[in-house]
Symmetry: C2
Subunit: 114 residues, 2 copies
């Protein structure tokens, strides 16, 4: 069984299926992304944006259901944008957020046992 195969051995060196464990650098990068979502409020924000019509939500629509102040919500959204898990677009006075499905799929794929 191999898992978290961020680094694969070159094709010509090893038996088929042989993979190297994760490097220190890869582990640090992955831990950084996981820390961004290892927070209940940020998980709920991701989930709420994904469940929203069109997969996009305005920050103004997220404050009331989450029950925190807008600066707090904006901070959490910023962490998710910086981790590459949300994209942000300013339209008029409001910022709109969309889930970065490819980044989230890649994260899930790294965690999937093979």
């Amino acid at each position: 069984m191999t898992l978290l195969p961020l680094v694969t051995a070159p094709d010509d060196c090893c038996a088929p299926g042989t993979r190297e464990p994760m490097t220190t650098e890869a582990a640090e990068q992955l831990a950084h992304t996981l820390k961004a979502i290892a927070d209940p409020t940020r998980l709920r924000l991701l989930s709420m944006i994904a469940a929203h019509a069109g997969g996009e939500a305005c920050v103004c629509e997220l404050t009331e259901p989450v029950g925190l102040s807008q600066p707090t919500i904006s901070h959490h959204l910023k962490v998710l944008v910086e981790a590459g898990l949300l994209t942000r677009e300013k339209r008029g006075v409001w910022a709109y957020y969309t889930v970065a499905t490819e980044a989230l799929s890649a994260l899930a794929a790294v965690l999937t046992p093979r």
Copy 2:
């Protein structure tokens, strides 16, 4: 698009495909599991155990490649066992660890966009 659909609406209430965002309780539980793996050393340990012959490793085999003391390694392994991501079996003087592939698959599935 729906995501992280830990809570689905009852079949008889909503349009097909409609899902509710994650509840506070579900988000807290998931954040707890994610925190267990949001650490570079623990990610490397998981990866090393998974890459090991038979998908199992003795704590005595993990100390040297990770380059930390055995008590530190044992602490990290304990966090992963408590999160349900590793199983532990004592045989003779050593503890052996196996990746809980079903739990890890479930974690990956929750993060996969749909």
